[in-house]
């Protein structure tokens, strides 16, 4: 179905797509940091690079889908054959994440320029785009690599760049600095836990290649070192993914970083960490080991449910829109974890489906907030009163994404929540399905508060004029909003990708 992409793509790009995908931002980042022109040239370069990366991930998607059941593309770095060399291994699961990250990066970097111009000082913009490209490269690398230690390197690359990006919000709000330090400490602890866990696995098996690890672990079995390694990896990646009790870094980091960074991170960073977690749970550790041996469902499911409920409640009581959305992000991570904790193909595919949809809706929501803030400094709900009349285009897109977040029929959120509830019922977890519905009611309350203020209340300060967001923001915003509706009406394509991803895990886990 996507063969036409393979026909028009150059052969060189097809043969080296996994490496080029990482290489482009890797080269462009340090160059962009020194480009003149007050950041405008660096911005243009960022848009081009993220656009090319989107094309490369489309090529990869076409390659993976060219074979029934999903091909596995293996790329040996430096010509050293796996398992000894570093391998980039793309299957139906990775390619979904790669595509998601590069599409979101492309759209946010188009959208980014007006907000960067308003929020980042002149001399720092080029460096800002350099750091963004490194962050982007790191996220792609985490998703593409098939080597457990290499994953750590890319995870740290993206995280360190992210701390810089968050701290650059200090031009707008000084609280960005403590938020960045907090994130740095928590993120470093998470990365250390992960690398300690990988160390234990290496001690037990003598390999770092994920596919090889999976085979070796079958022979080693339930060794104590493997169990400790598993626990360390789960906690480390859980911290990066903002799994419920480890999410304290997230609300501040999202609230005070530059709007551009918030929109990008909210849609990608935690998603990539969840991908890594899924990869370890299902591919590296076999299902029996992770779920029966370690009773993972007894840990992951309660964490997911606690996130859904507790963070939705916290979202209700926030006065600041960005904080509301940040807490809602943690709650949505809970949905994904709940789906994953089922340990069935249906559950994981529902989780992955929600992961994609959540990236689309949170990206749109944060973009709309950024567009509104551009002409009126203030992100409290109070400040947004009456905005529906002043900026109808921005706020309509905001409302569409908000409804999608709640899970109203004909939006993407409904489709993935429906898939999640069906998967839960299939496994007989009807109580969890009820809690999902209850948590959606909480979402109605916190989104309802914002939407009510935006559309039905009079402006708080009639002398301060809100304007419509510029076209550069409106276009990517509306692309995301329309994507939300498109998936809501016809979710077949994305749901098919998510199902393929889940099946790739369950079939290809041990091989």
């Amino acid at each position: 179905m996507m063969d036409w992409i393979l026909q028009i793509a150059p052969a060189f790009a097809e043969a080296h797509a996994p490496a080029l995908l990482i290489l482009l931002p890797m080269l462009a980042g340090p160059i962009a940091a020194f480009l003149p022109g007050g950041g405008r040239v660096a911005w243009g370069m960022t848009v081009i690079v993220t656009g090319l990366c989107t094309l490369l991930s489309l090529i990869l998607l076409a390659q993976v889908r060219s074979i029934e059941g999903g091909a596995i593309i293996s790329y040996a770095m430096g010509g050293w054959a796996p398992p000894h060399g570093i391998e980039f291994r793309i299957d139906a699961l990775n390619v979904l994440i790669l595509l998601l990250v590069s599409v979101i990066a492309f759209l946010t970097s188009i959208f980014g320029w007006p907000t960067i111009k308003a929020e980042i000082a002149d001399g720092k913009r080029a460096m800002f785009f350099g750091a963004f490209q490194v962050c982007f490269m790191g996220l792609l690398g985490v998703a593409a690599t098939g080597d457990a230690f290499n994953l750590f390197v890319f995870l740290e690359l993206s995280s360190i760049a992210t701390y810089v990006l968050v701290a650059l919000g200090s031009g707008r709000d000084r609280r960005a600095l403590p938020a960045a330090i907090n994130y740095l400490l928590m993120g470093t602890i998470g990365a250390s836990f992960y690398v300690v866990g990988v160390g234990f696995l290496y001690a037990a098996t003598g390999t770092l290649n994920m596919a090889d690890l999976a085979v070796q672990l079958q022979d080693v079995g339930g060794n104590r070192a493997v169990q400790v390694g598993f626990a360390f990896i789960l906690v480390g990646l859980g911290l990066k993914a903002a799994m419920f009790p480890l999410h304290q870094w997230l609300p501040n980091a999202y609230s005070y970083s530059p709007s551009f960074v918030t929109a990008f991170l909210a849609a990608t960073a935690t998603k990539v960490a969840i991908y890594a977690m899924v990869r370890f749970l299902f591919s590296v550790f076999s299902l029996d080991f992770a779920f029966e041996g370690m009773s993972l469902a007894l840990i992951l499911a309660p964490m997911g449910i606690a996130a859904m409920l507790a963070c939705s409640f916290q979202a209700i009581f926030q006065a600041d829109i960005r904080r509301t959305l940040a807490y809602s992000s943690v709650a949505q991570v809970g949905y994904m974890l709940l789906g994953i904790s089922l340990g069935t193909a249906a559950g994981v595919s529902a989780g992955m489906f929600h992961l994609v949809n959540h990236a689309l809706m949170k990206g749109a929501l944060f973009m709309a907030v950024a567009g509104a803030v551009l002409t009126y400094q203030g992100t409290r709900i109070h400040d947004f009163a009456g905005l529906g009349r002043r900026a109808p285009w921005t706020m309509t897109a905001f409302a569409i994404a908000g409804l999608s977040l709640i899970g109203v029929p004909l939006t993407a959120g409904f489709q993935s929540k429906f898939a999640l509830v069906s998967a839960l019922l299939e496994s007989g977890w009807w109580w969890a399905a009820l809690l999902v519905v209850f948590s959606s009611v909480l979402a109605v309350i916190y989104m309802g508060r914002i939407l009510e203020a935006v559309f039905f209340r009079a402006p708080a300060n009639p002398h301060k004029e809100h304007g419509e967001a510029p076209l550069l923001i409106l276009v990517p915003l509306w692309i995301l909003a329309i994507a939300n509706i498109w998936i809501g009406v016809d979710g077949g394509f994305v749901y098919g990708l998510a199902t393929d991803a889940a099946e790739a895990l369950f079939i290809g886990g041990a091989s």
Binding site: A19, L23, P30, Y75, G79, G130
Partner: protein
């Protein structure tokens, strides 16, 4: 901090002056000996920065920033990154996989020139990147001016 013309710390300055070039030289030794013994670009980069840091400690941060400007340090870090990736691109252009040193010089099978010079080129990139970033971090901390003045408290 003692200015360059101050009379204090005469011994320190006299001892530090000959040490600095030796430290820099030792860095290069660690770098090029990295093939055969422990060492390599990362360690060498840190040692080179030690020379600059020692200079800054003894002669003051301002002369050090004049000798090795912060912009130079930042550019060095980016340049190192590009050298590393550039070797990978070179391998790509020569028809191999990313960072495949074997194809760099179009050798006969069994030739090891590519592996030898490929890794040294990559390590030069690492050296630049590490030295540049370490120095930038040092400058960022040492050159920091307090934003809140003492009178404001």
């Amino acid at each position: 901090m003692a200015g360059p013309r101050s009379d204090h710390h005469v011994i320190l300055r006299v001892v530090a002056k000959p040490l600095i070039p030796i430290i820099a030289l030792f860095a290069l030794y660690v770098h090029f000996h990295g093939d055969y013994s422990p060492g390599g670009g990362f360690q060498a980069g840190v040692i080179i920065v030690v020379a600059v840091v020692l200079y800054a400690l003894v002669f003051g941060i301002t002369p050090a920033m004049r000798a090795v400007p912060p912009v130079f340090a930042r550019s060095l870090a980016a340049l190192g990154f590009i050298i590393f990736a550039g070797v990978g691109v070179w391998a790509l252009i020569m028809g191999g996989n990313f960072l495949d040193y074997d194809v760099l010089f179009n050798e006969e099978p069994g030739g090891h020139m590519g592996q030898h010079y490929g890794i040294i080129a990559v390590e030069v990139g690492v050296l630049f990147a590490v030295a540049g970033s370490m120095l930038s971090i040092f400058y960022a901390f040492a050159g920091r001016v307090t934003e809140i003045k003492d009178e404001d408290w």
